[in-house]
Amino acid sequence: MTRPACALALVLVLRWPPQPAVAQVSGAPDPWPGPAATAFTGAWSPFAIPGDLPRPAPAAPALAPGLTATPRVGLFWTGGNPAALAFEVEEARADFHLGRANASGDHRRPLDPPHQQDALLRMSAWGPVEDRSAMIGRVRFDRALLEPAHSSYAVPPYGSSPFVVVDTSRSDVTHTTAALEGAAGWRLGRFGLGLALGYAASTGRTVAAAVPRRTQVSAPAATLGLGRDFHGGALRAGLTFRWTGRAETIRINAFGADTDVFVLDGYREPEVIQLIAPRAFYRRIERAGAGAGAGLAGRAGPWRWALQGEAARHGERQWGRQVNDPPRDTWDADALRVVAGVQRPVGGRTLTLHGQWVGLSGTAARPVTEEDSGGVSLRADENAFLAAAELRQPLAPAGWGGALRLTAGYTAHDRADPRTDVSLDLQTLVTGAAVQADGRIASRLLLSGGLAVSRHQGRGVVPHPESLGPVVGDLLYGEVALHAAAATPWALAGSATFELRQDVRLWLASRYARRSPAEPLHHPFRPMDRASRSEWGITLGASLGPLDGR
């Protein structure tokens, strides 16, 4: 899958459960091209609780060919408060699409599969329900084949938590993921009440492997929102309360062959667990997070604006013994997020500005590790900032439309392992631009195309590979080296939309993206300086609702 890296919003998508885009103005981080990919924003997603800052591989900004809807700014659309849903959703819309994507190439992080295929089914809809309420929801069903994979993750590695289970058998893995999210909002006079619920699950297993590896993840989430209108809707204030949980189980059975299993926990060389047939490995991960936030949104002349701040705390517990109350590895993190959006018309166009900051501080501990560090295996302080601007020309009834989008993102990862004195101080700056043109070439046929490019630059203090052990050097240094090196990923996308009848459209969209290092990229174990990685995706979909999204 594409891993856009130009902005924090793109970074967040790598979190699992499926993480929605922060706002459509930044370009939704979705490898599935087409209008449905970004028409439906995800700030409201109950999974969108701050608490993880993964380090994705560089990628171009997402493109949404065929999207002609104007981005939105508001307490619901920007801040994700479901209490504002009934105030900010006025029309009904539904999207369905089926897609297929493929990624391959060696410009990748060590735990990424060399080759990956995805098939996806997605449905989404929103609209008012009766007089004083509105609902929004989406379903995603994804089946991925990783060829091969040797980490036992259901959650992609290189997140904020340092714990990653890896085994040395390399087998093809299939992952089936389903995510279901929905929110309902009610208007009670000047007050609003909203509830968003989400559930995501994933199951993964090796394909015809001598060392079967199975993973199972279940993740519920909920957001409660309260809101109130002031001055006839000129000012809207709201509170959000979020909760999320996750349970993950990893099982590795050494049946037909032996394997070594590691649990990465920082920058110290991990203990090797030798699985000699017929032994088995088990790990259970349970995580819970809770957060609260407050937001304001309003109108001032031609301006629409929204501001939301949130704080969250996460606790993760991991263990490997199938007994009641086993000893646990822990990861605890506190996160803050501030997001803002501003929008105004400029001539016949719409200018939308978006910004976001996320800060995270976390500590990992193993109960059986060093006494001199109190069991702490890693401390992390991470920050990310995103800014994006979009100028959109609406599609004329018999003419052209388009959008120009500029993005800038800055991330800083400060991670230290007190047991080894190895630390990582990595900063990246990503700037990007995307341009999209839409044209009606026949009464019922709409063509759309776009180009996106970004510049990924990294700097900082990176541990020397010789200071790391062979496992950490291989699996983590490669990721850090790729993250720190410059790259210029780009993407092309196009779509054709056929209007079956008023408010019913069928569309076909495709996307191609490629990345390679812009400067020599050295890795002691993997030759990557000439590597590249390309991705393509094709999507067939249908949309019900007005073309302009209003």
């Binding site: 449905m123 199975r214 349970a247 049946f255 047939a277 007994v323």
Partner: protein, 945 residues
């Protein structure tokens, strides 16, 4: 059926109804007087979305054979409705059927409009669970009725998944995993039978649960896919229990009635209850459905059409596959099920209920194929593989003839043929031992087997069931009361035509050198005598109004089952049982019903129980194991013992229950509480019968090694001794008692949140007592050790269990957007297992000698020194255990799609809760892992509208 006296009266009536409808605004209202003792229901059927009247919609009263069609204004009239709580149902092609509950008084006319929609999800008051106040058709006993709306909403791959909506039955992951059976009102966690012999409480209860599909019983009595009481390995088949419910796809079911209480006399061959299944037939809008999760893929298509007004064809096809050990092995189970239904109604009306036409002939052809394959995975267990492959074909004919306004005759005939092929292999690792393959009694030179070898066996059965029933129904008014009388004759014949049990004689799967066990040897199933039963029954149902609004209903019946001693119905009676059954219901006010019932039932023994496989006992006379294989010599004597029991007869069930049902407000809330006590006497189990075999010992000549020849046996025998054995004789020796409480409550919907809560729960205590002696785990040592002169035995024990199981459901419904969200929490509140009986060293009852004689020892003497060798702990009893309570959550979300489609997402054990691990003295209670998937249903015809 309701027939109008004339078109004039009909027109006047409908015009009057239309006026009444305008006056009352759609509420249920009593608007006129009907004949004494019965009432009429009138109203209109309307489109839920547009409010437009729907012409030719079928309106019927569930549980009563009354139906009619609406006219061009959507109006209908049903007359002659017996008083009491009723469920009115409206159906029309292209629409989802709708159900409305109402109370019919003992006279007058009730008006009730019904709104139906193209998808059930958009209907107000959608039902997604069993109906608390539901009644099986023609039944007054406690029942859970699951309607099509709830079935479509339930995530289920088979009938077993739908039965989860019944109190006391826990939720299970949707799929074709393992043999699926159901045991009504029994603790499902009872572990195994007593003393390793005979069925568990769960098996006995599932065996005593009758499954009826489209009016025809689906029996398991001729299933011989097991290897007797002494079988050394486990076959994944339904033999010995109920039928494997995986053969009935959930997607093709229209309605399920689970009669938990006392069934009417119409139903026989049961002890626990009856599950009456109706499949989708008639003029059905074609639809295509698919379901996918990480382990199961399922595809269903179904459709039906009316032709020339006289005939209706319906066809369905279902294919499903479940991966049984994903990621670990290639084990899988798959099913293909197809059904053709045809109705012929000369003169028209084939699309209406059968009772509306003067003559209706229904033909059903059902086919299923259910395979479970576990190929060898040498990485896991070398050499082990098995498969169970079942095919079934059932043809049934039901003719319903109305010869007068109040008299009907129903004739049912069905032929059901199955083919069951079971295969297993395993890599046996044996010490060298002598073995003989004799199939007759006598002495034979044996051979030595040993080391590592691949044992393979096949069990190929072809069970048949012929069933016929003739039933007459008369509706008469006697003593001023409306009576519905049914009487019928039922004939069944079951046999197995399969080639039977075979194994590779070179590599026997069941041998023992450390004991003298009675094992099965190859036998043909077509040599097993068929089983013939017949039954006569009569029952009467009456409703008596009292006071202003009170109604007393009663149903009483008598059934006589005969188990014939020959293979046909003309032969004599081996056993016969008269079974009285009574149900009463008192409804002093429309919002309360008090009910009670008592009845006796009978369950026929199976072919395997009536004619068990002969048991082969091999006694080793000479065991000369020389170094050189050609010099080895074994002599064995084979004895054959017949474990059948000429006195074996029906299992007898006594069922008693009392309950109360309350209607909670006008918003559809209801509560049902039932106390029950079900007792099975004379359940068929195994009674170990001590006996002995004479073993001769011979001297050998020329036993010098290195000659290249085996030694010679010198006749006659030098001496003989006796070897004690146990013959596992079938007997009516089990007593199963289940008693408890069942609760079902639906709270009224909270209008603002469009949410309602439901609770379904049961508290059941089970005890299974076995009238048999327990010879302990060390009997085999006693058999082979000539020095041991006696061994202890104990009286049979009683295994008990309790289970308190609650399932809470929260149902959120948004008809405006066609959305239903259901969250179900299964909470195991309390669960215990306990064996009753002393297990200390003084618990023995006596001893068995080497010639099989049983010598009792009085309790006061058991401490004497002469019985020191008998004072050993009894190890066949389970330690008392209390299973830790646990809970898990399952979620289902269903949403309409454009073009009348429906998408459902489901997650079983959505939070992936583990449960609790076992600790010292505490058993584990681990939960099945999380499973999730999508279900998509589309009516293809909507694409062309």
């Amino acid at each position: 059926m309701d027939e109008f006296p004339s078109s004039l009266i009909r027109s006047i009536t409908l015009a009057w109804l239309a006026a009444a409808a305008m006056r009352t605004g759609g509420a249920t209202t009593v608007v006129a007087q009907e004949q004494p003792g019965t009432a009429a229901i009138v109203g209109r059927v309307l489109d839920a979305a547009t409010g437009a009247p729907i012409e030719a919609a079928l309106v019927r009263v569930e549980g009563l054979e009354r139906s009619t069609l609406t006219d061009e204004t959507g109006a209908y009239l049903l007359r002659g409705i017996l008083p009491g709580p009723r469920v009115l149902r409206a159906e029309h092609l292209g629409y989802e059927s709708a159900r409305v509950q109402l109370t019919v008084p003992a006279g007058g006319t009730v008006r009730q409009d019904i709104r139906i929609g193209r998808t059930a999800l958009e209907l107000e008051g959608i039902t997604v669970t069993a109906d608390v106040a539901g009644r099986a058709r023609g039944e007054l006993g406690t029942a859970s009725v699951v309607e099509e709306q709830a079935i479509r909403h339930q995530t289920a791959a088979s009938l077993a998944g739908i039965l989860e909506l019944t109190p006391g039955i826990g939720m299970r992951p949707p799929g074709l995993d393992g043999v699926q059976q159901v045991s009504l009102r029994a603790v499902t966690t009872s572990t195994g039978g007593l003393a390793q012999l005979g069925p568990s409480a769960e098996q006995l209860a599932s065996f005593g649960t009758l499954i009826i599909v489209d009016g025809v019983p689906v029996s398991n009595n001729a299933n011989l896919q097991s290897l007797g009481a002494g079988g050394e390995f486990f076959l994944s088949t339904a033999a010995g229990g109920g039928i494997d419910l995986r053969q009935i796809p959930a997607e093709t079911i229209e309605r399920v009635e689970v009669i938990r209480g006392v069934p009417s006399a119409r139903w026989g061959d049961l002890t626990q209850g009856a599950i009456v299944v109706e499949t989708r037939a008639g003029a059905v809008t074609p639809e295509v459905g698919a379901r996918y999760d990480g382990r199961t893929v399922e595809f269903t298509t179904l459709g039906g059409s009316e032709l020339w007004g006289e005939q209706v064809f319906t066809a369905s096809l279902n294919a499903a596959r479940t991966t049984l050990a994903p990621g670990l092995a290639e084990d899988d189970a798959y099913r293909i099920a197809g059904r053709l239904a045809h109705r012929f109604a000369p003169g028209g009306g084939a699309g209406r209920p059968a009772e509306d036409a003067p003559f209706v002939l229904d033909t059903r052809l059902d086919y299923y194929q259910l395979h479970e394959d576990r190929p060898e995975n040498p990485d896991v267990v070398r050499g082990r593989a098995s498969s169970n492959r079942d095919w079934g074909l059932r043809l049934s004919e039901r003719a319903r003839i109305r010869w007068s306004e109040r008299s009907r005759l129903e004739l049912t005939l069905s032929a059901n043929r199955q083919r069951q092929d079971s295969y297993f292999q395993f890599l046996g690792i044996r010490a060298a031992m002598p073995f003989t393959d004799r199939l007759t009694e006598g002495r034979a030179i044996g051979r030595f087997i040993g080391g590592e070898y691949l044992a393979r066996a096949w069990l190929d059965g072809v069970p048949w069931l012929l069933f016929g029933r003739g039933e007459a129904t008369l509706e008469r008014g006697w003593l001023g009361l409306p009576h519905t009388i049914r009487t019928g004759l039922e004939l069944r014949r079951e046999w197995n035509d399969g080639p039977g049990y075979q194994f590779d004689i070179e590599f026997p799967p069941q041998v023992s050198f450390t004991s003298v066990e009675g094992f099965d040897r190859p036998r043909r199933y077509d040599a097993v005598p068929p089983l013939a039963t017949s039954a006569l029954y009569v029952d009467d149902r009456v409703a008596i109004p009292f006071g202003e609004r009170g109604i007393f209903s009663a149903q009483a019946g008598l059934r006589l089952d005969v188990l014939h001693d020959g293979t046909h119905w003309a032969s004599g009676a081996r056993d016969a049982l008269l079974q009285p059954r009574v149900n009463i219901e008192l409804m002093p006010w429309p919002w309360v019903r008090l009910r009670g019932g008592w009845g006796r039932t009978a369950k026929t023994p199976t072919l395997d129980q009536l004619s068990p496989a002969p048991q082969y006992y091999d006694v080793v006379n000479v065991n000369w194991y020389a170094n050189a294989p050609e010099e080895r010599l074994a002599l064995l004597t084979t004895f054959i013992r017949d474990p059948s029991n000429p006195d074996l007869g029906f299992s007898v069930g006594d069922k008693a229950e009392a309950g109360i049902e309350l209607a909670l407000g006008a918003a559809g809330g209801a509560l049902s509480l039932v106390a029950f006590r079900d007792r099975v006497h004379r359940g068929v189990g195994v009674r170990p019968e001590p006996s002995f075999l004479e073993r001769e010992h011979f001297a050998l000549a020329d036993s010098t090694q290195g000659t290249g020849e085996p030694p010679e046996i010198i006749e006659p025998a030098t001496h003989a001794d006796s070897v004690p054995i146990l013959i596992h004789r079938r007997a009516n020796n089990l007593e199963l008692e289940n008693r408890g409480l069942e609760l079902t409550a639906t709270l009224p919907e909270i209008p603002v949140l469009r949410t309602r809560f439901e609770v379904q729960g049961s508290l059941v205590e089970t005890s299974l007592a076995q009238d048999a002696l327990d010879f302990g785990l060390n009997f085999s040592s006693f058999q082979v050790s000539e020095n041991l002169e006696r061994a202890p035995f104990w009286e049979g024990g009683t295994r008990t269990g309790t289970l308190a199981l609650l399932i809470y459901r929260i149902i959120h419904h948004q008809p405006a957007v066609g959305l239903v969200i259901t969250g179900a929490v299964q909470h195991t509140v309390h669960e215990t297992r306990r064996d009753v009986g002393a297990s200390d060293t003084l618990a023995f009852s006596g001893y068995i000698t080497r010639d099989g004689t049983l010598v009792p020892v009085p309790p006061e003497d058991r401490g004497l020194d002469e019985y020191r060798d008998l004072r050993v702990p009894r190890r066949t009893l389970l330690a008392d255990s209390e299973v830790p309570g646990t809970w898990f959550l399952s979620v289902q979300v269903s949403k309409t799609l454009p073009l009348d489609g429906r998408l459902s997402f489901y997650a079983f054990n959505a939070l992936d809760r583990v449960g609790t691990y076992g600790e010292a003295g505490v058993p584990s209670n681990l939960l099945p892992g999380a499973r999730f998937g999508l279900e998509l249903t589309i009516p293809p015809t909507a694409l062309f509208r």
